[in-house]
Symmetry: C2
Subunit: 310 residues, 2 copies
């Protein structure tokens, strides 16, 4: 099961974190941008080339200490199909370095349409008998608002292709409670109901370490709810945004883990990509600074959860 | 406001429908596929070329009688960045024929990430001072599970660029009730709460005909809930899936409209794309058959709602 691979990587590196690659063009140093614009013009193609260079430089500096990356689809789509091509190339490059790739696309739809998303991001596309991987990530974030019809097609692909999904449960943003915190008639919150559905969907994808292939997104900015869901969804692996730039600290993120230090992977995006700013370095040092921040973050979290044991 | 443009198109053509362009390669006639594979091989590029040909042929046959198309992003992503390029080209082609384009992407995220999606699909991307439209649809479907943080960035782009959004409220699939029909403590259902949020978000995008730029997706397969939401969300324009292949009929879809025959646009995807099968024609007649089905559907719906008056 896909998350077993992620968990093994986490334990081997003693690092339960994932580097979010959400490369706005503003984050890319002028030296990279200038070279790409000189070659392709100030075009979507030029922008996409710059993003890819930026990503590769970070991956080169962290692949031996960070087990996974999480590219956010929005930042690639913003640069058109050319940007989406850079997403596919980023995924392939990270995997060639042994990294686990979570595409953060929050995709959602039903039936055959959800099958198409599953095929696109995790599966194999059939072109007149040729079997081609379109994006080929290891996991995909999804939105479960549409219920089982929107998740089952993914679970099938996950089973066949050894992939995983993370379902939005309690998101890290300030307004996440407008719907997610509403109480249902039975006293449970909407996010709790979503967590229950994750536990149920996950039964079809059991894992070696007690966690299924249906994970959940639960934000570090809501540490109480994180602790609550860790208890109520014991077979559900968590992808935890909100650490760093959004305000969550290691003590908050700690609530995502079980007593073995398993059960979650903590994301940092801007914290990693823009680390040079905090370290008083120049933008051309972005990749070295990303490595230093990744190491600092790892220590920060390990200091609160202790050794990770399989 | 963007939906005013759509509403004018609907009234001018007396046709409150949208053609869903969800082109699986299976739907494309062998003659088109063979030509594209001969040119590009059995590759994602070849598949994408075939999808684009197929779409253009349908658009050519319906643009004078159908006001809008709704390409479903999943079916393009399935064919990689090459497929995503075909999506961009389909959008541009339909707009060149005067059609209103709703990209069905059900995108969702928060803050700057949602801004990136808004920029990608509806807005203008800045590349070092160059202003470039990445996908440039007229409207986008979105998922509101994350609350206001996920919608506000879209509303801002809609205001600036004269675009609209459709938020998932009550979807057409069998399992949509697992979350959406749950009752909250105040007695309202989850979908009703989402409808309330649409009414509230829409206040920033008022329209000429009483409908705001924040629409809702409400399925024809749940006619009672459709009638309920028409009453409870009187300023929210509906995008209605579920007609045809999914089982909804004109009598069901009727509940989406107000007494002037306004307030909704009914989608048909497979019904249009695969119309030749039902009409006993050959696959090479797909575009003519799509036109005949579009006319039949228009008459079917107009017969139940009467003349559309602005």
């Amino acid at each position: 099961m896909a998350f077993d691979r992620l968990i093994k990587g986490i334990a081997a590196m003693q690092n339960p974190t994932v580097a979010g690659l959400d490369p706005k063009l503003d984050y890319v140093p002028a030296s990279i941008k200038d070279a790409c614009f000189a070659k392709y013009g100030k075009t979507l193609e030029g922008a996409a080339a710059a993003l890819l260079e930026f990503n590769k430089a970070i991956i080169d500096k962290i692949y031996d200490i960070v087990p996974a990356i999480k590219p956010q689809a929005a930042y690639y789509e913003m640069y058109g199909w050319q940007g989406v091509k850079a997403l596919a190339e980023t995924i392939a490059y990270a995997q060639s370095k042994g990294m686990f790739v979570i595409t953060d696309g929050k995709r959602n739809d039903i039936g055959t349409t959800m099958e198409a998303y599953a095929t696109a991001h995790l599966g194999i596309t059939d072109v007149a008998g040729e079997q081609i991987s379109a994006f080929g990530a290891d996991a995909l974030t999804v939105n479960g608002y549409l219920g089982t019809d929107g998740i089952k097609p993914l679970v099938n692909v996950c089973k066949e292709q050894d992939k995983g999904i993370f379902v939005l449960v309690k998101t890290s943003n300030p307004s996440s409670g407008e719907l997610q915190d509403k109480k249902l008639e039975d006293g449970a919150t909407v996010y709790e109901q979503m967590g229950r559905m994750c536990e149920s969907w996950g039964e079809e994808l059991p894992g070696e370490y007690g966690y299924s292939g249906v994970g959940a997104v639960v934000g570090a900015t809501y540490p109480d709810q994180l602790a609550e869901m860790r208890q109520k969804a014991p077979h559900t692996f968590f992808l935890v945004p909100g650490y760093g730039a959004q305000g969550g600290g290691a003590q908050d993120a700690k609530n995502a883990f079980d007593s073995n230090g398993l059960g979650a992977v903590i994301n940092s995006s801007r914290g990693i990509m823009c680390a040079w700013k905090k370290q008083g370095l120049t933008e051309d040092d972005f990749a070295e600074a990303a490595r230093a921040e990744a190491l600092r973050m790892k220590e920060d979290i390990l200091n609160t959860i202790g050794e990770i044991t399989l």
